[in-house]
Amino acid sequence: MDDQMKKNRLWAYVIIGTLALISAGTYAYNEYYIYLSVYLWFGLIYGMCLQYGRFCFASAFRDLFAVGVPRMVVGIMIATVLFAFVGAFVTASGLSTFHPAPTSFHAVVAGFIFGIGMVFAGGCASGSLYKTGEGSGSALLVILSISVSQAIFADIGGWTNKLVPNSWRESALSKGLPESIRVEDGWLDQYLAGYVWDQPVTTFAKMSGWSNESLMGAFLGNLVIGVIVPAAVLLIVVYLVWSRKSYMRKNLGRDQPAPTFADDLAGFWAMITANKRTAIAGLVLGIAAGMHMFVIQGLRVKFGVKNAGTLLERMGFDFGISVNGTVFDPGYWYVTTQEAQWVGWTIQKLGGENMDNIYFGFVNGIPNPAINPADWMSIALIGGAAVMALLSNEFKLKRPTLELATWALIGGALMGIGSRLGLGCNVGAFFVRVSQGDPSGWLFGLGMIGGAYIGVKVFNWWTERRMARQFEASGI
């Protein structure tokens, strides 16, 4: 074993040891910290899975649209189905902490903006987290940009109020929100309370006439109708457009004039099984996310609370808790809101006012990052990715070039805006929602695919233009 590998091993142990110490030490200090430790350990597992499976939507769509390689997209789709399978069990057991989101065209628009952003940035929300764990400075900039843009966008008012349709304003004002929220001042506030909250909230189970917790609803409605059928259709499209031709070229006999149905089945199966790493990561992610929901539900019952905000108050932390007494506590895997909260908390501490909007002040709060449950998950997620990268010798500190940094900041800002419009990112608004039978997840996904396509085209145009200029300058 060379010196570098020894160092890597030591660092991996340092990370895991630190997390273990934090977990054990805080539990010894106050039992309620175990609630935060749940996020910490499952965050670590998510990070390890993401790094192992190269779970990045941006890379997946860039590979597909730029060079016609469907491997990663197929892996992510398979991972979604496997996650949905585990999700159906958790839902049927009545222990799910998932809440579906409002379903309407806004999810498509949000996904479109997010899709463009993730291609520009070179990493989606989850991809940027695990790449940060691999030592990528560019990915860290993406996270910073997502965080800052969300915090600013959540509170932006002033001239943007003039862009709000009257119907949204009237509907938002009629909701009877606390006066401290000042719903009349803030574009996102009026968008949320005046438009998004008025949209239907449903699942494929409910649309089919079953409850989510019934066996028919969880397995036939949410899993089969809501995930397996649409995923199969998408995979067939991917096979026909991107995979079939190259498979037949390699595998069709010279004397065979045309492919048979059996050839197509073999080709389809070869495509599905091509990316085992991502599929395995998806399965473990699914099991971990299911267990995460289960443990959180158990602790909520044990402590007699519905939200971590009550626990934080009991522990004596009341700064940054929302007007409803809540903090962001999804009970499952989520990425972007806790990133926004870091910045929201900092702005508040520096003298700004971030508690007069719906996003922070009414729903998620801006607790100190050191005791924010979802922050524990994200930090541990980066740690988990770092552990896997260190042990597989893939960790390397990489400083971004000026060009990469610019793309990271622009892409991150677009992802931040898309996340707030869609109430989540590629994980919270797509991966989790789709797998739990929420139709708004598919709408976000459709927009994200469209945005990724446009993003790849723009990025290619920019790269070709720059290369042409370089060739011109060098006289080639």
């Binding site: 273990a20 443990v295 009550t310 009341d318 007494g325 597989s392």
Partner: protein, 63 residues
Amino acid sequence: MKNEIGVIFLVTSVFTSFLLGYSLPPLLETGMIGGRGQVKPAVVEPQIDEQLEEYYRKLLEQN
């Protein structure tokens, strides 16, 4: 490398198993597992305390 991964998995498994074990009894006691929700758990709704109310009142006055 396999040994190191094994140690990491072991530590992670120990902590997650502890968390699972910790959260299971309340779910069994309330019947959420095994009893199809016969007993409803006592849940404290998130509440706003006096200090927070005061904070928001001041915030409103400032605005």
